[in-house]
């Protein structure tokens, strides 16, 4: 197991380097730069000075290695959009709202989705199943900005129960968290229903019944444990996807989160921030998949304990 984790960490490092190269090259291959004349009307001399100051006059490979050398020392540079702070400061400031709201969305949505999926699977083809499936389909098909608008319209405008903005006080969190929760809830409801139905159709469940085990024990010990195996693996990647903020949800609820920077850093050619965001996401996904695979192996004896005698 340890050897496996080590090998995976090596592959994470390789992925990291490859992705950083691709992003860096793509970023610079888009025509234009941060100090183009129409965006920033400064004199030629000032622009040259600025470029030199930021190292943008150097050949690309020098820029790349400089940046990556910095990354190794946790120096991600200074964002062009907000020169008063470092990229790290900006990230740690802006990520908090995203992490709180998105994270809560997953932590609330996923368990609810599992419960909904279980209820659907245990009452297959009943009205519970149909309602659960309809909810799950809605959650997956309705775009999150529509969900957000509906939530604002209903709970803030019509009912006037909750504020329309989503930060900073906890009572303001409710609506954006609900918007974030929709997708994990829907995904988990579908996955859980499918996994449980699949497990329940397997022969060993008939055997468990034939042994005289109670239905409750069969469901809660055997069916759930087997169904959990595929569910565990989707959790972490989903958490990371959601907890890094959605530009739509954050724009709707005026949350000063990370989401907006994903777009703005590309728009204004904020190279250091863009690189930092992409590397961060890459790194987190790599680790998330690594952890998922480790957990998968731990709960699945077929992987944990190798082959047949």
């Amino acid at each position: 197991m340890l050897g496996y984790i080590l090998r995976r960490l090596v592959s994470v490092a390789v992925t990291f380097i490859v992705v950083s190269l691709i992003i860096f090259l793509m970023m610079h291959s888009i025509p234009g730069g941060p100090f183009d004349a129409n965006d920033m009307p400064v004199s030629e001399a000032v622009r040259a000075k600025l470029m030199a100051q930021l190292g943008l006059d150097q050949p690309l490979y020098v820029q790349y290695f400089r940046y990556m050398w910095g990354v190794l020392h946790f120096d991600f540079g200074v964002p062009y959009q907000s020169p008063g702070e470092t990229v790290l400061q900006l990230l740690s400031r802006a990520w908090v709202p995203s992490l709180v709201l998105g994270g809560l969305g997953v932590l609330i949505g996923a368990p609810l989705g599992i419960l909904l999926g279980m209820a659907a699977a245990l009452n297959r083809n009943s009205w519970i199943d149909y309602i659960a499936s309809a909810l799950a389909t809605l959650g997956l098909t309705v775009p999150v900005f529509v969900t957000s608008m509906l939530l604002i319209l209903i709970f803030a405008v019509w009912l006037n129960w909750l504020p329309a903005s989503g930060w900073p006080d906890p009572e303001r969190w409710i609506l954006p968290v609900a918007a974030y929760a929709a997708i994990p809830l829907a995904t988990y409801a579908r996955y859980t229903r499918a996994a449980m139905l699949d497990t329940m159709s397997r022969q060993f469940v008939t055997v468990l019944r034939a042994k005289g085990l109670s239905e409750r024990r069969i469901i809660f010990q055997h069916v759930l444990r087997n169904s959990a195996i595929p569910l565990v693996t989707v959790f972490l990647p989903m958490f990371i996807g959601t907890a890094t903020g959605s530009i739509f949800v954050e724009a709707m609820f005026r949350v000063p989160g990370l989401g907006a920077y994903f777009v703005s850093s590309i728009e204004v050619r904020d190279y250091p921030l863009e690189m930092a965001l992409m590397l961060m996401i890459t790194f987190m996904y790599c680790i998330a998949y690594l952890l998922s695979d480790v957990v998968y192996a731990l709960i699945n004896p077929r992987i944990r304990i190798g082959g047949a005698e």
């Binding site: 090998r7 022969q203 055997v207 042994k211 005289g212 239905e215 444990r225 082959g307 047949a308």
Partner: protein, 584 residues
């Protein structure tokens, strides 16, 4: 008061667009300690009836009966909790595929002890101790280790033993065995059947043996129920069923046990149609060691020589893992051999390019075991059968279709089947289509890889007859791969026995049955179930250690040959070779 009493049981399955009558009307009873066999083909309702007795059927099943009693409890009206108490204690079941009968994420020990604890209040450690004793009673030697094993760590035979131990754990009054050996190799099947008989006597249980295999019936039960299409055709003592069957279906079933064929007439002098020389296959296996990967080799087939004369049928017999299928695939060049030659009419094809192989592909065809996955579900039967003609650019589309339809008739299907799809057919019908597709190019060599092992007995006999007829008509040379010695006996001219990737014995068919020399061949023959209850016998098995040992016992032979420490294939009579250690 009988232990089981069933009167006028009917089971219907509701499904989209109507209902299916799985059990039309059956009645039977079973006394304590009695052994009853229920024999019938798939879809005859034999398993469904027993599942109904324990109320294990899905919610889509409508079960009605004048009487459905198990151990004095009315199953139809019993409450849920009462049913749970009844299951496992009044009647316990063992199932066909032991691999899928255990929950993969819990240990064997957990699953046996949880059964004990579901019915009795005992501590976990006491239940585990009992589980261990049960494993010992089903002759598992390392019972303490097996308790901590997960199902995937055990072989099919061992798992079926553990399954029996689990079934015994609540001292059931009747053991219902639903095709308990169908998924197992012949030698393992014989051991499991013997074990079931033994524990039945020791625990004083009644037994219901559900099977499609008359041999299993002959070996294990006193009374037989013959089912067909959801109804009981015939019922009686086992000897009467075998010696004086009254119903036509029973007679057909019995006849399928004794199919006889004319031996094929080949020309012994001519060059063989197909000759495999020193054929080997080793698979590379990766083993992880920390950051590095080590490569090892697994020899699936080792140095195999097989000769297939023109117009003959040669059987390649062996159990799972013996390398027989790999050998067949290599002979067809569907799997590349690691070493060795494949001679077709004396020409080595083992290293021909795909282009150069084309004319040979036309002469060599294969029929697989699983007809369902061997036929493209998106193509009509005509398209499937005509496809080889398309590939080899033979004829116009109209001629191809006509020829395909003619072949449909030739394999015993109506021309109207041409526009159907594979899923609309039964297993036997699909296998007929696969045969038509293989033979439409009129090949010289046919490899038949277990073509009947997924089929019901009567259907199996029909397919074998069809293959034999076509072989004689077309003068085919056929390599018939099988694990089933009884099929081989009536069909083939000579037999090659494979064990762990090697040929261990080879002889004309009569000779191998009359005078088997290699201990493994003897064990295989010994394991074949009796075809009549009168022929039941005690068996001597290769022990578990011998089965798992890298080299099984060898016949030691004194010949004029130079002595050799490694086992050699030695010719002991014309056409009869056996692997043995040659001593001075």
């Amino acid at each position: 008061m009988p232990l089981v009493e069933i009167q006028d049981l009917k089971v219907r399955f509701r499904q989209y667009g109507g209902t299916i009558e799985a059990v039309r009307k059956i009645s039977f009873s079973l006394d304590a300690g009695e052994s009853l066999g229920i024999v019938g083909e798939s879809g005859s309702g034999k398993s469904v009836s027993c599942a109904a007795l324990l109320r294990l059927l899905p919610a889509t099943a409508d079960v009605t009966a004048a009487k459905l009693m198990l151990d004095d409890v009315d199953v139809l009206s019993a409450r849920k909790g009462d049913m749970e108490r009844l299951r496992g204690r009044a009647a316990a079941m063992i199932f066909q595929d032991p691999m899928s009968a255990f929950d993969p994420v819990f240990t064997i020990g957990h699953q046996i002890s949880e059964t004990i604890r579901a019915h009795r209040t005992v501590t976990k450690s006491a239940a585990l101790k009992e589980a261990r004793e049960l494993l010992e009673r089903v002759e598992i030697k390392n019972a303490a280790d097996v308790l901590a094993y997960y199902p995937h760590q055990l072989s099919g035979g061992m798992l079926q033993r553990a399954m029996i131990a689990m079934a015994l754990s609540c001292r059931p009054k009747v053991l219902i065995a639903d095709e308990p050996t169908t998924a197992l190799d012949v030698t393992i099947q014989a051991q499991i059947l013997q074990l079931i008989k033994k524990v039945q006597a020791e625990f004083g249980m009644a037994l219901i043996m559900i099977t499609h295999d008359l041999g299993v019936i002959a070996e294990t039960v006193d009374r037989v129920l013959v089912m067909y299409n959801g109804e009981v055709m015939e019922e009686g003592p086992v000897a009467q069923i075998f010696d004086a069957p009254r119903h036509d279906y029973t007679k057909r079933l019995l006849a399928s046990l004794h199919t006889k064929f004319e031996p094929s007439r080949g020309d012994a002098d001519a060059a063989p149609a197909l000759q495999l020389r020193g054929l080997s296959k080793s698979f590379r296996i990766r083993r992880r060691r920390g950051l590095f990967t080590e490569y090892g080799a697994f020899d699936a087939v080792r140095d195999v020589d097989i000769t297939l004369p023109h117009n003959r049928i040669v059987a390649v017999v062996g159990e799972s893992g013996s390398g027989k299928t790999t050998t067949g695939l290599m002979a067809m060049r569907l799997t590349e051999a690691s070493a060795g030659e494949i001679l077709v009419d004396g020409k080595d094809i083992s290293s021909l390019s795909p282009e150069a192989m084309r004319p040979y592909r036309k002469q060599m065809q294969i029929v697989f075991q699983d007809s369902y996955s061997a036929l493209d579900p998106m193509m009509t039967l005509t398209e499937i059968i005509a496809e080889p003609l398309v590939i080899h650019r033979i004829g116009t589309p109209r001629e191809r279709t006509e020829k395909a339809l003619a072949w449909l008739e030739r394999v015993g299907l109506d021309r109207s089947f041409g526009s159907r799809y594979a899923h609309e057919l039964s297993g036997g019908q699909r296998q007929r289509v696969a045969i038509a597709r293989a033979l439409i190019l009129e090949p010289k060599i046919l490899v038949a890889d277990e073509p009947t092992s997924a089929l019901d007995v009567t259907v199996k006999a029909q397919i074998i007859t069809l293959l034999k007829d076509l072989q004689a008509e077309l003068g085919l040379s056929m390599l018939f791969i099988s694990h089933d010695l009884s099929t081989v006996k009536s069909l083939t001219d000579s037999v090659v026995v494979m064990y762990r990737g090697r040929v261990v014995e080879e002889a004309p068919t009569e000779r191998i049955f009359a005078d088997p020399r290699h201990p493994y061949t003897r064990a295989l023959l010994d394991a074949v179930p009796a075809t009549n209850p009168r022929d039941k016998r005690e068996r001597s098995f290769l022990s578990a250690e011998e089965i798992s040992a890298a080299t099984p016992r060898m016949t030691v032979i004194q010949t004029g040959l130079a002595p050799h420490p490694d086992p050699q294939l030695v010719t002991i009579a014309p056409g009869h070779r056996v692997e043995a250690i040659v001593t001075a």
